[in-house]
Symmetry: C3
Subunit: 206 residues, 3 copies
């Protein structure tokens, strides 16, 4: 399970760094600005989780996370300048990053022996905060909160399912893969079929 957390974490960092650069590209940021957005997107969620849990912040202890974020960001920047990446392709890697980070975050919190409800919220925070930071830094409205499509809800459902499956006796690794699949399927289905939850409808959205 530790190996799973490690490698899935590195993959999530790479995927999120990629989405950060793609988003920064829409705003004509320069190289360093794009790299910093990539770093914030890739490392933000796990950083907030570690601060809340009073753990050592993962990328301060192990430089490989920061290296992967910078290298992926640089490659994406070069590829995007060469127009090798369609600039709007980013909902898919964003959904993958959400799924990976949510499951890693939940697992880390469980191993830290937080109560289960707190652990599920740590999963959501780990999954969502990187993208929120990216949106704030790029001066977008954080879509996670405003849009009707399942985002945080998909992450929360996956985190709760993973915890429930572990409680029901399934192995930690199998529960993690199941939770990951649930987040990914819910999020992609929500994008494709515009699934929404009930909303409060006083007034109009801005």
């Amino acid at each position: 399970m530790d190996a799973l957390v490690y490698w899935v974490g590195l993959a999530a960092v790479a995927v999120n760094a990629l989405t950060g650069v793609l988003d920064a590209g829409r705003k004509q940021m320069d190289l360093i600005g794009a790299l910093l957005v990539a770093v914030a997107t890739a490392l933000g969620g796990g950083t907030v989780r570690d601060l809340l849990l009073d753990r050592n912040v993962f990328w301060v202890v192990d430089q490989s996370y920061l290296t992967v974020a910078l290298a992926t960001g640089l490659l994406t920047f070069v590829a995007a300048r060469a127009r090798a990446i369609p600039p709007r392709l980013f909902l898919i890697p964003d959904a993958i990053g959400l799924a990976l980070f949510t499951i890693v975050g939940t697992q880390v919190a469980l191993q830290w022996h937080t109560p289960w409800l707190v652990a599920s919220l740590m999963g959501v925070i780990t999954g969502v905060v990187g993208g929120v930071l990216r949106d704030i830094l790029c001066n977008d409205v954080p879509l996670v909160f405003l849009k009707g499509e399942l985002y945080a809800s998909a992450a929360w459902a996956g985190a709760l399912a993973m915890i429930g499956l572990q409680q029901a006796g399934l192995s930690a690794v199998a529960s993690a893969w199941a939770g990951m699949a649930i987040v990914l399927v819910l999020r992609l289905a929500a994008i494709r079929y515009r699934l929404t939850l009930p909303a409060l409808g006083h007034g109009k959205p801005d």
Copy 2:
């Protein structure tokens, strides 16, 4: 005093969760989005205080705060959908939350033996940050900073008064209630009579 901090803290969490959902309702957020805003509004101020003081974050250790925030948020969401709550009623609970959190935050910092000026600022941070997060997540301008009405000023005055009364020999509990009353009266009077402090007036506000 510990009991006072605990119960006043829970009350402040509930009141702030309510204001978070009311604000989210104006932006047509869905259920999970509104609950997350409620959680951020209810737990944000105390979280920043605990991180700055290097304490265990209060709601990670004791799940009851998170449960109260989610339950209050859910009830408010249901009531708001049934149009049982006038959507603009939220300055009063917001002022109550400000007063409760300011006093709890100051007391926690004093017990942690910070210098008095730092303790008063911790009270302001605990009182104000939840509402600032709510405003940022709902994409409003954080009114605490821009508007002329006493807000952070009311919190700071109450925190300083509470510390001064304790130094003058008043019991901790009595000082806390006095400080709470000062914040609440100043804030409500400022709303009612549009009390303001001197401002810098170069240019025009946006």
Copy 3:
């Protein structure tokens, strides 16, 4: 070196508090609002650094930083109300604050034995975060990310140079002064001559 870090840190706090009040003045904030922006600008970068490194937050332990920030903020407010300060003079102190904080942040991280790449990023964070907080609180777009002029890039170059010079055998104090000069010269030259880095140019900036 400890004395250098201490005094340069205090100077950086004062300079950043000044820029915070000048920026708040453009938004007609009142006295307390302007002081809080000053405090956030002056203490924000070092706070994030200390949280990430799991150090004691510098201004919570030593009240003098907070006192300097408040006193400088108050003086600036009075001077600005008397129109003794041209409201647009703030790029110079902002550049000085960037240089001072970057070098202090890098040095603190090195003494905390982080890997070198992490240490350089800590320098950038310490230098940049205060100004980002100021811009967010004043509801400006954080210029550090959007504008083509070297900002974070200047900080990063100075931090890396300082680390490299130390590795090459130069004394810590001399390396610090050299790094500081590099940040300042790059930033001021970028303002004067509009130096920029390559940018991603899909679509138009907002």
